[in-house]
């Protein structure tokens, strides 16, 4: 069960984790992109954190929509529209709800990922955030289907996301800035996949606390 209070806490923790990893994400992006992913994400989530007080008593839909709109209006780059769209689509699923059950969680994730795909026109295996998000989502589904609790499911999802990040090292980018490098992108991990992994890990850490 995910309450709106817990959701607020998760978002606050994501802000902290992104801030801590700002330079790390930039360095990863610098190797095969333009080195700004950490700044972009940090700018966005700092803005989100500032808005959270205003919506702290709202339903999950409002919280996620505010998060989405804030990311969209502050991040820019590729990450802004992608994460923004993900949160926006997730928000729609839980509109008006203060407490979310496992079904909501799965649906939220599913819609969020579909949003990323719709916006970015990428698929799994193109060395993007999807390579962390999709395996994580599939693991959540599998875990919940087999009767695991959501905290347990997220522990497994975190592992899957991490594997996804590792997988991005082995492939050639065909979407995003790194695709310009051709085969030279192989050997480097994807920045967006890394931030997605950090976000899933933070959700897991927060609900497992």
């Amino acid at each position: 069960m995910l309450t709106s209070d817990l959701l607020i806490e998760i978002l606050k923790n994501i802000t902290k984790v992104i801030e801590t990893n700002k330079q790390y994400l930039c360095d990863i992006d610098a190797a095969i992109g333009d080195g700004d992913h950490g700044f972009n994400m940090n700018k966005g989530f700092k803005a989100v954190a500032e808005k959270l007080d205003v919506v702290k008593d709202s339903d999950c839909g409002t919280i996620l929509k505010t998060t989405a709109m804030t990311l969209i209006s502050t991040v820019g780059g590729a990450a802004g529209p992608l994460y923004g769209t993900a949160f926006l689509k997730a928000a729609k699923v839980v509109d008006g709800k203060k407490d979310l059950d496992n079904e909501d969680i799965v649906k939220m994730f599913d819609e969020g990922i579909k949003g990323v795909i719709m916006r970015g026109k990428a698929e799994q295996g193109e060395k993007t955030m999807l390579d962390a998000l999709i395996p994580a989502f599939e693991e959540i589904k599998r875990a919940l289907d087999s009767g695991s609790s959501s905290p347990e499911a997220f522990i497994r999802a975190t592992k899957a996301a991490h594997d996804g990040v590792e997988y991005t090292k082995t492939i050639r980018a065909t979407k995003g800035r790194a695709s310009y490098l051709g085969d030279r992108s192989i050997g480097h991990q994807d920045a967006g996949a890394t931030s997605s992994y950090l976000i899933i890990k933070t959700i897991s850490d927060t609900i497992n606390k």
């Binding site: 080195g35 820019g76 529209p81 800035r177 310009y180 051709g182």
Partner: protein
């Protein structure tokens, strides 16, 4: 990092202030946003042309706001696409009811942010269309990738679509002409040094004292390959060969040439490169209708340059020669 700046986090804002103060006769700022529009805008009776993208490419794009070119320019953080909110403000400020054409360089971020802005504008009943510039032949244009990047060739779209819009053509016509420019322009660049994003504080990559990077993008993205530094002739030939092969130039074809500095290259070197480019074109019997030379689409202080060739027909030629009056591009 050595830069004449105050706070690295505030460079875009201070730059925009400095632009408005330098050129109040050309541009004004949309209050609260990183958007510059024509001082007299929105201009009645014309399609509005807007462009933008990450900052750090100055004079692109704000320097081209003015008569005969852009109606508004939207500035993102350094090398980061502006947000849909910012672009949407640009659209609103530029639109005079005849529709808006967005000139977008082909980067995932730019495409998505401008697309979302268009969705917002659409919801408010503003007619918006877009043209995607993808002139960089360094990057393979395959269906499995995001395709070619948009680089310095964008200036030709600003100039020619700008002239078309200024002459009062419809959105559909301006878009048709823009598409023709995009189809007819190719660019390739090289660099001798990297550049430093102020907020990052250190260069995106490092080149040894005898190395150059060929085919790189305008954000300090690594290029297609790195080699020992060569002569102006060899470098120019490599770029020209790649471009000409791609655009399939024939004898008697007429072109416009843009020798574009990346920010840190002395004009002397650009002219030396132009001397070589001109010889190569003449050898093939290609006619140079116009040469534009200088810093037009830069990557901060990067040393290096790009060559763009635009294959002309009568329509493009007339619009290219049409008068323009902007801070960074003036033509009588």
């Amino acid at each position: 990092m050595k830069k004449i700046i105050n706070n690295p986090e505030n460079v875009v804002n201070e730059m925009l202030e400095g632009i408005v103060k330098a050129h109040p006769e050309y541009v004004k700022r949309v209050e609260g946003f990183d958007v510059l529009v024509r001082a007299e805008g929105p201009v009645k009776g014309k399609v509005a042309l807007i462009s933008g993208g990450g900052s750090g490419h100055e004079p692109s794009h704000a320097g081209f706001v003015g008569k005969g070119m852009l109606d508004a320019a939207v500035a993102g953080e350094v090398f980061t696409s502006p947000t849909p909110t910012q672009v949407f403000e640009g659209i609103k400020a530029a639109d005079s009811g005849k529709g808006v054409l967005m000139v977008v360089k082909n980067y995932t971020g730019d495409i998505m942010n401008f697309e979302m802005a268009a969705e917002l504008a659409d919801a408010e009943g503003i007619k918006v269309d877009s043209i995607i510039v993808n002139d960089d032949v360094a990057v393979e244009d395959s269906t499995w990738t995001t395709g070619r990047r948009g680089v310095a060739g964008t200036i030709f779209v600003h100039k020619i679509a700008g002239a078309a819009a200024e002459k009062g053509l419809s959105l559909q016509e301006v878009k048709r002409i823009s598409e023709k420019v995009v189809k007819s322009v190719r660019t390739m660049g090289m660099s001798l040094t990297s550049c430093t994003v102020p907020a990052a504080g250190q260069p995106g990559f490092v080149l040894a004292d005898d190395e150059m990077e060929v085919g790189l993008g305008i954000h300090g993205e690594p290029g297609t390959h790195r080699t020992k530094i060569k002569s102006a002739l060899e470098i120019t030939k490599e770029l020209m060969d790649k471009i000409s092969a791609d655009i399939n130039l024939k004898e008697k074809d007429e072109v416009a040439v843009l020798i574009n500095g990346l920010g840190g290259t002395p004009l002397m070197e650009l002219y030396i490169a132009n001397n070589e480019a001109d010889k190569l074109l003449k050898e093939r019997g290609i006619i140079t209708h116009k040469t534009i030379i200088g810093n037009y689409m830069t990557a901060l202080e990067m040393a290096g340059y790009s060559i763009s060739l635009l294959l002309l027909d009568a329509e493009l030629k007339e619009l290219l020669d049409y008068k323009a009056d902007t801070p960074a591009f003036k033509q009588a």
